[in-house]
């Protein structure tokens, strides 16, 4: 997706029950350098701080923003909205259509315990990542990976405080045999 800005919205966060999963959704978004990571449900400063501090130290530009009115936000979003749900169309079909549009901005939406029925009609696309109930974390990761490719997940800000180049904890047996040197 050349030059399109990607945002992610995580619906219906619950502080106690979802804190780790929502953090994983947020960090998986930052992995792909999404611009804004929106969430709704319960306002959670700890969640915001966890995601923002990792993004900052590791060189991802992602900003975390809490939304009071996520459904209004979806309806008025100035871009294309894609809701990830196992009841959607196969993700490669949706991505082909996204590529045919001349997109400036895409909002990817993940639930959330109970996504209200109207959301299915409010968005531009309902998009499946497999016809199987699994995980909003892996659905989002696979979708972003198919949309954006693999380079972005290795190419973070070179001026970031934290960075890796592989091998920091040693290599495996077959890697050593190939002569990889540990960093």
């Amino acid at each position: 997706m050349n030059g399109a800005k990607i945002d992610v919205l995580r619906l219906g966060h619950r502080i106690e029950r979802d804190k780790r999963l929502s953090t994983h959704v947020g960090l998986s978004s930052a992995l792909f350098n999404v611009e804004n990571w929106y969430y709704s449900g319960e306002h959670d400063e700890h969640l915001e701080e966890s995601i923002s501090s990792v993004a900052k130290r590791w060189g991802a530009p992602t900003k975390v923003v809490f939304l009071e009115s996520p459904y209004k936000f979806i309806r008025h979003y100035s871009g294309t909205t894609v809701h990830l749900t196992m009841y959607g169309a196969p993700h490669k079909e949706v991505i082909t259509e996204l590529r045919e549009e001349n997109l400036n901005r895409v909002l990817i939406i993940v639930g959330g315990p109970k996504v209200p029925g109207h959301v299915y009609g409010d968005v531009d696309y309902n998009c499946a990542v497999g016809y199987f109930p699994h995980s909003e974390v892996s659905a989002l990761a696979i979708f972003l990976y198919e949309l954006l490719g693999d380079e972005i997940i290795y190419a973070k800000d070179p001026n970031a405080e934290m960075k890796l180049q592989g091998g920091e904890k040693g290599w495996g047996k077959k890697q050593k045999r190939r002569g990889l040197k540990s960093n």
Copy 2:
């Protein structure tokens, strides 16, 4: 990976803290029809039941197996072992090497709160999915997706109790304009 059997091992499960994340790791494995989903740490019948029952009803062949001695299991595994860690080599490089071997069986290992240092030397490959700390769920999902492709996540057992074909909850606005009919 033509014909290779894929297993996944989730290290160090803790019942209280990890129940939802481990379930997501398990279901993301079942999404790709992995053969055995091993886990270690605390024995958790509820976790086993959650993953097994979804796999069964939705037509994935995945079996859930608890391991008392995961490190011994890794060392004696009769196949190639791949440990997903941000300190590894880029996943596409590792997958290229896996494809060059004539593999029957691959074990993909994900942590786990603290993976002991010896694991890095016991496995065949330490494999990164991005040089960025994110999520064992998305790391596994992206790795399996790159290794196995997208068809498998839509093609489940046609005789399964539960199945989908898309559109069960209606289509989005741009999908309706294209004339998609809801199922």
